[in-house]
Amino acid sequence: MKITCYSFITAIVFSLSTAATAVEPIRVVLEFVPDIDNGRRTFDICARCHLPEAWGNNDGTYPQLAGQHVNVLMKQLLDIRSGRRVIPSMQPFVQQRTIGGYQNISDVVAYISTLPMNPAHGRGPWPPESAEYREGGELYEQYCASCHGAAGEGNNELSYPRLQGQHYSYMSRQARLVRNNMRRVKPSMAALLAALSAEDFDKVLNYISYLPLPQADLAPSAAWRNPDFQ
């Protein structure tokens, strides 16, 4: 597995002929070969909230990490580490002085990617036979599928999160944070949140929470416990 670690360095180029200033972001990609064993040890601190299975809580207090794309996990970890994404209760645990350097972060991300997903994650209030579910599906097709995929599978290369299997309440809370100017996301995502009403957005998230998951990615049952932490 290849784990990439992005850091954005801004170079400022002064033009002598005009007063204009050109600012170009330069992306530096660092690559690490992950050590899964070290990742398992490092995950101990994450497991305290996200639980040893990395399933989070169905009530959405903590998200499911299992099954998420490595590039998405990496980006969120680095954003929370730098304070770009503000989570006061997680920020302390992903600093150099606690979790360590990029190698450790790569290792833990790689370890999380080996864990099976929760077969009974938190779902929305409107079951598949409801009108709200159907409306949510139509909105999903129209607005979300082009980036997040028809099945909500996301895209690792482009760091688009996998939505399948995420707890409904967690996604709903994140939507509220973006609306309240408490979480910054891509402009296209922010524009969508601004365009759709809160009710419509909840319907979309409800639909997403019922998206089927590939059997191969799931744990045998909701009673499965991570043997690494028994």
Binding site: D59, G83, P88, S89, F93, Q95, T98
Partner: protein, 454 residues
């Protein structure tokens, strides 16, 4: 001027002089009536100053006045502007600078320096687009929506009261106001003003041996784990400095109130020679000069002490006639989900002076304040905000070299049947480690960053 007029003028000014002297704790009252009348001409302009409009910029939008620049007030001031940029926010605090009480126990044991804990209200206001006013708030009038301070009055559209706590010395048998002041200065608890912290550090560093008393108050006191954590940090310093000392930890509760197993293990394994833990020690009196503390059944002589008494809500609430007669903390009667006074949606009470039984501490206040800011902005903008529980997160250092800590994260839920709040979704880590120790410092850095800088 007639004799009658002179008399009433003199009476008024004497009354005013008493108020001023009462406000500045420690200022000696005039020794005699003649001395008092000599000072009258100087008192009059001072009183007039109180009745002037304070020198703050005119409001450029609905004005929110936040009383108290602690963790709650600082967070509210920032997020009120974030959720409604049209708000014009003034934060008032009587201190000139902010010194963090969270992490101060680690500072007592030299794990961080004073710069780590100290921050400027000016930075917070400049970086987040609100005004800061250094003044003591004297009271407020809800009909005219006016807050009175020693530097003049300020009018408000919304008022947030986050004045915190005061020590309730009568609950340990120290009733007389002079004795209370003396006890506060000699054996401060270290949970209200920064001078207390400095005095406590000097006490610990200079202790030459003997009995050192620490107390844990009863009731809902500020920072549940802190007195136990402090016992560990004080013991760690004595151990490091090879001081022959016995720490008597007099707990007014029947057992350790939080992270029980972890603290017990720390007391036994790390500080067995230093800490003697004495639960159910109901303190009934303190003989300040005689250095003796009395409990229901015992008496303890001490060489030095940190006496943390039970706490109550800031007297600002009681003086405004808002204290709920059923509240042992003298808290205001507020809507438990929306935080405003039951009969006034313009006045909110947050932080450690709130009426709800949430843990009194920095993280809780910070998380709660984000929600309350949203509620107030929602009120102004005409939309509803769904209740959500504050989050409590609390690290407790137990050892130094290296710094090692335990932690807890919890939320609260409301039980409809009982009408009470209870802990919910609690994650408790009673295993102490260096990651926890470093996380406690990183946590504080993240919080300071949010309240003051970014």
């Amino acid at each position: 001027m007639t004799e009658q007029e002179k008399l009433s003028r003199r009476r008024f000014l004497q009354a005013g002089g008493a108020v001023l002297a009462g406000n500045a704790v420690g200022v000696a009252a005039p020794a005699s009536a003649s001395e008092a009348s000599d000072s009258l001409p100087q008192t009059a302009p001072a009183l007039q100053k109180l009745l002037r409009r304070a020198a703050v910029p005119a409001a450029r939008g609905a004005r929110v006045v936040v009383v108290g620049g602690g963790w709650s007030g600082l967070t509210l001031a920032k997020y009120l502007r974030r959720f409604n940029p049209a708000f014009d926010v003034i934060l008032i605090d009587k201190q000139s600078a902010f010194v963090s009480f969270p992490v101060s126990n680690a500072w007592l044991a030299d794990q961080v320096d004073l710069d780590f804990l100290s921050h400027s209200f000016f930075d917070a206001a400049n970086n987040h687009g609100y005004h800061f006013m250094q003044a003591t708030v004297l009271g407020f009038d809800r009909d005219s929506r006016r807050v009175y301070t020693e530097a003049g009055y300020v009018d408000y559209d919304y008022l947030v009261l986050a004045p915190g706590i005061e020590y309730d010395y009568p609950r340990i048998g120290v009733e007389d106001s002079e004795a209370r002041n003396l006890l506060f200065h000699r054996y401060p608890g270290g949970f209200v003003t920064s001078s207390e912290l400095l005095t406590i550090k000097h006490k610990i560093q200079r202790f030459r041996g003997g009995t050192f008393v620490l107390t844990v108050p009863s009731g809902e006191y500020r920072c549940t784990a802190a007195p136990y954590e402090r016992a560990c940090m004080v013991a760690a310093v004595f151990k490091r400095q090879r001081v022959r000392a016995k720490i008597l930890l007099l707990d007014m509760n029947t057992d350790i109130k939080i992270k029980q197993a972890g603290f017990k293990r720390a007391f036994e394994q790390l500080y067995g020679d230093y800490i003697e833990y004495l639960p159910s020690s109901l303190i009934s009196n303190v003989d300040i000069e005689g250095r003796r503390i009395e409990t229901e059944f015992d008496e303890y002589d001490f060489d030095d002490a940190i006496i943390y008494p039970p706490v109550r809500t800031s007297s600002l609430i009681e003086e405004a006639g808002l204290a709920d007669p059923h509240s042992p903390q003298k808290a205001a009667k507020t809507d438990p989900f929306r935080y405003h006074l039951v009969d006034d949606e313009r006045v909110y009470v947050t932080g450690d002076s709130r009426s709800q039984p949430f843990s009194k501490g920095g993280h809780t206040a910070h998380s709660e304040a984000q929600y309350v800011a949203e509620v107030i902005a929602g009120h102004a903008l005409g939309h509803d905000v769904q209740w959500r529980s504050p989050q409590t997160m609390c690290f407790s250092a137990v050892d130094i070299e290296p710094l090692r800590a335990m932690s807890i994260i919890t939320y609260y839920k409301f039980n409809q049947q009982s009408g009470l709040f209870a802990f919910d979704r609690t994650h408790l880590i009673e295993k102490w480690d260096t990651q926890g120790g470093q996380a406690s410092l990183a946590w504080a850095e993240g919080m300071y960053r949010d309240m003051f800088y970014v």
